[in-house]
Every structure is written in structure tokens, then in C-alpha cells.
Subunit: 334 residues, 2 copies
């Protein structure tokens, strides 16, 4: 293992961290040394990588000496505290949090969409919000061909977006609900079992949540389309790990269902599952564990001019987080 | 019990039938005699009404002799087969199915919205689709004040909309999933536990489902607004009995959040639950068992002109079906 890179994962014990470790191995990423970093409560744990146990170390300012690539997935606060330090230590940071996404000097990248933006990186590259990534995997290929003017969307977001504790909370609450037992929500503000919550992240003054605002701002930045008009309702649903988004979009030029299917079918990382007669369409249960996003329910929108409606699903922990981050890293190495 | 009406319920043993029986009692509807009608497999069962057991009889052409009011909730096929016969026997029919909703001579009524349409009834009044009712309880008050031009919506529909067997299927599949056991979906085309299905009802040639087309056509008819442009994605979610709809609407005239809240707060049958700072908004778990619909997440829409986004919830079996049907009957009696 003398060739390759020293890779650090900040937030190694979280839901995204686990996928990062697995994907580094699965994709044969050139890892010379892997450093697993986490908060004090996880120090002392060990996680398996390529058949060997790697101990979890305390995330600190000294953690990044000799690190080539630092993958951050421990929340915006941790990124703000440690990412600049990692860059000063010589690492390139791929940050899964919202900390730097809208910063001017920080590229915000979905490798299938705007890989060229990576050339302007000054040490930090931001991984977009999961719902934004999954929605744009369906929207961008159509935008490139037909020019999107506005988009109205609604999300059906899995609990994995709120981390490993949220996944446990859905299981726990579901058991309790079926047994008729009471429980107190801990991760989410309200029960998530057999319920849907029209709140993801905190509210802003405008009445939109931060998650909803991220979708608008990040879509504009990623697609280089500052004039895009966009609105979304982000909703948490009792699903474990794949997000779905219902997208209704208006384009500059007319677009037929056949044209749309053709354009979408050619886009890397995306599968068209759209056979209504056979009841085939993307569903989050089928998308869980898959690298590709899936798009279907493609139809001419009856409310918008040059409009198209469609439905995209993607694994929140993979394309929505760990996979996209690693694809960014792979592109940086090239 | 010499005063009052002879009331028949066709489909008495279904999920909506059970609510109709309960509501007739709760609302002190003037029932002289109650006839419970169902298919052969339910004949012989007894259901309680006002402390007495009422036997379930076979639904047949002879069932409606002497019946004043016939409440149908046994699917479009049954309504098509028996409703005209009930009218010929002298009954007024309130039909919960889609059989007659778009017929010219059949009023399609939400009593808070278009009660005057009842005056044109010729024996059959149609109860609208559940998602349409719940969405319009939020949209119509705003339309009356600001003139809706177009609406783009997404639904989060409870399993109760597919009947009592669907409610059992969600419980059964959830248990099986948590135990790691396999199961075969029976009511829904795919697993509903920990999944969402972007299909409600069957597909049309346009790629829209019938449920989605109902929303467009029924909204136009109920609001007397044939020029309305509307588009919806209807999605089944693992929730037991209340539907939610994310609505993004464009109006003729500018509308502020404060104006919208004021208009919505005054509308009968609707509660405004909209305090984002305290994480208060409508949720299906809280709406289950409630007569009123709830609206919240009211904000200026960032993609539409004179746009407003909001979120409505309502109990599918109550305002989405049995309660609305009974309110129609109460209006007919006045």
C-alpha cells in the first residue's frame, strides 16, 4: 500500500460515513492510508476496511497532517470548525454539509452535471443537498436540451437524511405504534411512523424551510442558471433511505414525452423506469442501495407552458451523499 | 322512531360505510330506519347503530323500496348498477364513487363551496374524489378572493382511500418488513410499507393516472372554473387515514401570506395551523379522526406569479368521503 492517497473521513461513524468506507473499497479508490475521524463518543470504536479493522480517532486540528483527501460528513458545524484547517494542512476537502455550498470560491458539484466547476477549487469542494442532487439528476438533462424556466416540486424524503439515529427512530416508533405503545420523538420534531412531516431542516422568515431554500439556490448554482424560478415543498416520509421528488417543470422550448425519455435515457447515472401499462415507475424501496437514480411518470404537464412532469428517486445515502462525494474525489484525482 | 327518513347505505361494511353509520348517529341525522346493504359475502353480519344491531342485507334492485336517502360507497361499478334504480324507487342518492361525477345532470358538491349546485339535482348527487375535496378546502377560499389561474400539486395519500383491506395491508406489510419476512402485495401493486407509490388508480394514455385527472376535472366543475390549469402528482404513502396535499397556486391578483391566513381562517370546516416557529403545521397523524381539514405552511410561492404555496391535510374517510356525503344529505334535507 505504498501508492495511493491518505484519505480521512470526518464523521466516519455516521450513516454517510459507513457508505463512504464501503464505497472506497467497492470502487477501488487508491487509498494508501485511511483515517477514520469522529467526535469523542466514538473514539475507540473500530470499523472494517478491506478486511482490516481501522480504529476511530478523535477529530481535531491535528488530524489532517499528511492527509491528501478529507471527506467531511459530520454536519455544518464540524465542517466550519475543521475544514479550513484540513486545507491548510494540504488536504483537498469534499464537504457533504451545507457549510460552504453557496460560498463563491467553493464549487458545488454533481459530476454528471458540472464537473468543469472543479477546476476552480481552492481546497474545498461542496457536495450538494441530497434532494437537490436527486431532483437535478432528472431535471438537468432536460434543462440542457430544452432550457428550464421554472420548476415546482414536492419531495418525499427518507429518514436517512437525518442520520443513523433517525433510521433507528423510524423502526422504534413503528414498532411502538403497532403495539399501541406511547413514545417520545427524539430526532424528528413529531412522530414519523405512519405520518408525514412537512418540515425538513429549520424554518426561515419567508416560511420556506432551509431545505427548500437550498433546493432553489443550489439548483441555480449547479446549473449556472441564476434566473431559474423554483419552488419546492420538502416533506419527510416514513421511508428508510431513498428520496423521491415529484417535479413539474416549464421549459423555453416545447418538449414531448418521447423526446424527454430519449434525453433522460442517455444521461449517465440515471435509469428511465417508465412503463405505466406494466405499473413500472421508480419507487424508493427499489432505489435503496442503488448507485443510479431512476426517473419515470414522464408526462406533458397540464398546468405549465412547454411543461413536463416527472418523478425521480435516488438513494439518499449514495447518490444523495456518499457516492456523489466520492465521484467528486475521483474527478479531482484525474 | 316514526319521524325521519329511511336511509340506506350501499357498501355498509367498508371503511367509508363504517364512518357513515357512526356519523349518522353522531350528527343525530333524522333516521327512521337504517338499511345496511352489501355484497353477498357480507350478508348476515350485523353492525351497531344507536345501540341496536342492524343486519346487513343483500344489495339488489329491490333494496330501495321506501328508501328516502341512499348513500353509496361501494365503488363505481356498484353505483352504476344500482343508483339509477334507487332513484326510480324514489330515493335521493349521494354517491361516493366516480361513476357520475362528471355527468352534466349530476351536481358534484362540497357543501362549504358550491351548495347551490344541489338545487339542480335530479336524484343523484356526487361526492367528489377525496384528494380533490381536501385540496379544494384550502384552495377554494383563496380562489374566491384572489382568482386562481393555475395550480401545481402533489399528494401524500393515506391507504384508507383504497378501503379497509388496504388498511390491513399496511399493518401486515409493516410487521412483515420489520421481522424481515417476505410478503406478496394484494391490494396495492407494490409494497406500501416503508415505500411510496407514485400511482393511485389506473393510468390513462396521457401518462396521468385517473386520480390525477379527477383532480383537474372535478376542481373545474366544483369551482365553476373551466379555464383552471391544474396538474398533480398523486402518491400513496404509508399513512393510515388522512391525506395531505402540497399546493402551489398562481392567482389573478397579488396575495400576501397575511391575507391568505385571514381568508382561510374564516372558511368553515378549515383550521389554520401555521406557526413555523413552534413547528406547528398540519400532519396526517393529527388530522385522523377530525372533521375539519387543516391548512398551514402558507408562504409566497417563489416560482409562480402572484403565487402562494400551502399544505392541506384532511381525514380521507371523513371530509374526504363519509362526512362530505352526509353534509350533502343534510343540505338536501333543508
Amino acid at each position: 500500500m505504498s501508492t495511493g492517497f491518505t484519505v480521512a473521513i470526518a464523521g466516519a461513524t455516521g450513516a454517510v460515513g459507513a457508505e463512504l468506507i464501503r464505497l472506497l473499497e467497492e470502487r477501488d479508490f487508491p487509498v494508501r492510508q485511511l483515517k477514520l475521524l469522529a467526535s469523542p463518543k466514538s473514539v475507540g470504536k473500530s470499523l472494517e476496511f478491506k478486511g482490516e479493522l481501522v480504529g476511530v480517532e478523535l477529530l481535531s486540528n491535528g488530524s489532517f497532517q499528511g492527509v491528501d483527501l478529507a471527506l467531511f460528513s459530520a454536519g455544518a458545524g464540524t465542517s466550519k470548525q475543521f475544514a479550513r484547517n484540513a486545507v491548510e494542512s494540504g488536504a483537498v476537502v469534499v464537504d457533504n454539509s451545507s457549510a460552504f455550498r453557496m460560498d463563491d470560491g467553493v464549487p458545488l458539484v454533481i459530476p454528471e452535471i458540472n464537473p468543469a466547476d472543479l477546476s476552480s477549487q481552492k481546497g474545498i469542494v461542496a457536495n450538494p443537498n441530497c434532494t437537490t442532487i436527486i431532483a437535478l439528476m432528472g431535471l438537468y438533462p432536460l434543462h440542457r436540451e430544452f432550457g428550464v424556466r421554472r420548476v415546482v416540486a414536492s419531495s418525499y424524503q427518507a429518514v436517512s437524511g437525518a442520520g443513523a439515529r433517525a433510521i433507528n427512530e423510524l423502526s422504534f416508533q413503528t414498532h411502538a405504534h403497532l403495539r399501541g405503545e406511547k413514545y417520545v420523538p427524539e430526532v424528528f420534531p413529531h412522530p414519523i411512523a405512519f405520518n408525514v412531516l412537512p418540515q425538513v431542516d429549520v424554518f426561515s422568515e419567508s416560511g420556506y424551510t432551509r431545505e427548500e431554500i437550498k433546493f432553489v439556490n443550489e439548483s441555480r448554482k449547479i446549473m449556472h442558471h441564476p434566473a431559474l424560478r423554483a419552488s419546492i415543498t420538502c416533506v419527510r416520509v416514513p421511508v428508510f433511505r431513498a428520496h423521491s421528488v415529484a417535479v413539474h417543470a416549464e421549459f423555453e422550448r416545447p418538449v414531448s414525452v418521447e423526446q424527454a425519455r430519449g434525453v433522460l435515457a442517455k444521461f449517465p447515472g440515471l435509469e428511465v423506469i417508465d412503463n405505466p401499462g406494466a405499473k413500472q415507475y421508480p419507487m424508493p424501496l427499489n432505489c435503496a442501495g442503488r448507485n443510479n437514480c431512476q426517473v419515470g411518470r414522464i408526462r406533458v404537464d397540464s398546468a405549465l407552458d412547454n411543461g413536463l412532469a416527472f418523478w425521480v428517486c435516488g438513494d439518499q445515502l449514495l447518490k444523495g451523499a456518499a457516492l456523489n462525494a466520492l465521484q467528486i474525489a475521483e474527478n479531482l484525482l484525474r
